[in-house]
Amino acid sequence: MLCEKCRAREAVVKLIALENGQKVEHNFCAECVQEMGMEAMNIMMDQMMDESNPIGKLVAEMMGTMNLNSEQAPKAPEELKNIICPKCGTSYKEFVEASRFGCATCYDIFGPLMNENVKNVQAGDRHTGKHPAYGWLNSDVPAQAGGAPAKALTPKEEIRLLENQLADAVAVEDFESAAKYRDQIRFLKNMEAGVTDLEFFPEGEEAAGTEPGTEGTAPGAEEDLL
């Protein structure tokens, strides 16, 4: 999806706002968000934290994007560091030090601060598995009986998805991820071919050796990731 401000770059920051009781989704690229400045982000954060603000229930979702450039990784605004979960009393400091949530509400309070790190410790930043059949928190989406349909991928499907990801990573010059995908693809192909030798990964090969093939990247491939 293209950024709705510059209409040129891929949107990587999604903002969901409640406007006149309607859920409105905005998509921006990292550059435009930075242009709009941290000030705008702070306002959104403040609105989000302010439960009494009727139209201010704003959910900012930074999809692990602000650290595209790690030197520019945003620091949590000072005022956020004073936040305490209104339900269980967990403080920002406590949350960071123990890496531990105190209650369900903590996820709404501290979740936005954690966004950029989620992908570093998890396979993705969005739940794709089972849903409870009854009454779930902070959702207006009805639960599907039996949970979200999710089938295990065959190794071939997995290779295809990884190849798409690899192309995406190369396109944005994220060579660290590209190398990871390349190795996974090679590992899977070796497994497919029945090769179980330990020397899968000769040292010193560069990610540049992989074919680009940016074209034909399946949209929505990200949702199906490993």
Binding site: F101, G102, A104, Q122, G124, G129, N138, S139, A148, Q184
Partner: protein, 340 residues
Amino acid sequence: MNWYEDPNVGNEIFVAARIRLTRNLRDYAFPNKLSNDDAEELIAKLRDKMDGWKTPTGETWSFLRLDRMSALQKNALREHRVINETLSQRVRPSGLYMSADEGVSVALMGDDHIRIQVLSPEVTLDRLWNICTKIDDAINEHFNYAFHDRYGYLTAFPTNMGTGLRVSVILHLPYLSASPQFHKLVNEVARFGVGVRNAFGEGEEKAGRLFEVYNQNTLGVSEEEIVALVYRLASHLAVNEKQAREQRYTPVMREDEAAKAYGRLKYARLLSVRDAMASLSSLRAGLGEELITLSGPLNVFGLMVNCCPAALALKTMNYNTDNLGADRAEFVRAMLPELL
């Protein structure tokens, strides 16, 4: 008889499987932030529904108050892998439903409100996942879970959020773990979000060379994908174990190792945890490959579990820990069939 003691289970590379699911209820703070009164209230509410239930496998289960059990009993349960470190040290209100063979359990008020776990010597992950998800659904019929559109099932630790699922396979890797490439292989497996660690921790028990292969990611992957991934990479390690032993040792060398281990176990008068685990590991390897034969069936993994300190004390009803080495030697000797 506990799940790990079934004598008719073989001694192959695949040892056992464990599936654990964490859940929290919507309207209460997580256990760490929960007052004792609220914890008591929550336990009472859960017990009101769950006390009469049977496990999806048709077994009855009993309820235990963990905070009223002795440290020895709790440590034994930890060694049996029924509860984790947090639960074994809980002195605040906490409870445990457990089937008679300890294979199916639901712990209350550990790190999270609910911890559903299934343990089995058969590595049939789909079946075990099915048992977990049925218990999960049954609880959800009566209680609202803390669930988030984006973060899935909400858990105390961010490392569990999403599915709340941890799938592990215990593998016996005596030859592979001694090979110089093991470290590298573990790193390669980690690229897939699958970790490998000592199944019994970093103490003397690790001489048993049992390794737990488990999923590190819980968010952004579905339950079915996790199950398939862990199984696939565990299988891959098992293949490498076979290669490692065949590449580096002749059958006679491996038979010799197993027979000597049998001798140590049969004639030792003092066995430390390390001695017992190392020798049992070698014995298991020889039995699994059928290089040596015993006069009767022997579940080596069960012996390993029962050789852990608290488990041994409970098993032998001998609580004088000064003599554990001698007790362990005697216990193992009594369990060993004859070498043919």
